[in-house]
């Protein structure tokens, strides 16, 4: 009998039962909070152009056709999202990138990070770009912004952006959902 077999028979039965929960969609929590925080920090520092080009040729062509950004700070995901006047077309492109990542089980970034990027783009467009770049209803937007604001691993700037968007939609903020 090999080591793995012995482990299977010796392991705590309740812990072991979790293996029956491993679902065919690969579900279950993949990332710890601190890891998600690290991945988000990394993602915010990455040049937008590189990631969009790598994901989908159609998205890459669309991105290449966009006007140059007003300043170089916009060229990273983080720079775009905290910019006081972000170009809305860039926000739309990043939003679509995030949406594509969310839809792909094997996307280039974790689902949670894609979700933050997605709602951060909607929030930035709403409160700083003066545009609504989604057909989502207010209820869905509020749910998404709240989710972003409630994640302990989300950076301060994006949490503040989500809370600002909530206030923009007339939602009281300041108490974190637990």
């Amino acid at each position: 009998m090999n080591t793995a077999d012995r482990s299977t028979f010796d392991a705590d039965h309740r812990q072991l039962s979790a293996l029956f929960d491993v679902s065919a969609d690969g579900g279950g929590q993949l990332w710890e909070d601190n890891e998600l925080g690290a991945v988000l920090r990394h993602q915010l520092a990455v040049p937008i152009r590189a990631d969009l080009r790598g994901l989908d040729p159609k998205l890459a062509r669309r991105f290449d056709a966009l006007a140059e950004p007003p300043d170089r700070a916009v060229e990273s995901f983080g720079g775009l999202l905290i910019h006081p006047a972000p170009p809305v077309e860039w926000l739309k492109a990043v939003k679509d990138f995030a949406k594509t990542c969310r839809a792909r089980p094997r996307g280039p970034i974790p689902h949670e990070i894609a979700t933050v990027l997605y709602f951060a783009c909607l929030a930035a467009a709403l409160v700083r770009g003066g545009a609504r770049i989604t057909s989502l209803a207010d209820g869905a937007l509020v749910g998404g912004f709240r989710w972003v604001a409630d994640q302990p691993w989300v950076d301060d700037a994006n949490r503040a952006l989500a809370e600002e968007a909530l206030r923009f939609l007339g939602v009281q903020t300041g108490t974190r959902t637990v």
Binding site: D5, S7, T8, R14, D25, G26, P105
Partner: protein, 236 residues
Amino acid sequence: MPPTRWSAVARAGDRSLDAWVHDLEVLVRLYRPVLVRHLVSRFRMSPDRAEDTVQAFLVEKVLVQNVVRQATPQRGRFRSFILTVLDHFATSRLRAQGALKRRATERDAARLDDLHETPQGGASVSDAFDALWARQVLARALALMREECARTKERQILWDLLEARTLGPVLNNAAPLPYDELVTRFGLRSPAEASNLLVTAKRMFARTLRRVVRETVSEGREVESEIRELKRILSK
């Protein structure tokens, strides 16, 4: 893959068919570790003695007397059937060997007497065996996945990641290896790549587990309910 669905059990018990040797072999391969562990736990046998008893059981009851042919879906799960037959066999053997008189403590004797007389004892024995069975199903699924992953370098990394991230914490109480360490250790491009590969590894494990369970139930639609049942058994 061990064919323990009822059709395969029937084939293993039908000596007029050519396939019985093969089907019996794979049946034995799946059940033998559980039967040995059951004897160690239930009769407090040493592992060596339990191995010997199971070997004798397989030769006398399974190979010579062909008890497998008496198993039918109407008589309940195959594992319950084989457990009952084994317990009868082990009890008779212990008594015949005089081991019961010489060695058994009062507690051991009471345990043996409980076998067929007290429903409560019977239920707990059955639960204990079911728990061993649930562990065996997982062990089998993990062994199969490990074998498959070992065939190519691309797949080996799936096993390594599953072990570092999921199996280590469950089987050995190890902390899950952080993604940045996974990236360094396995030469990956990014934590996201590690995450994607882990999702693939989990899918592979889930598929393998379902293959193993599928071979132990009568119909495909019973797979998910059997998995829920095995989880419930281990969660107690």
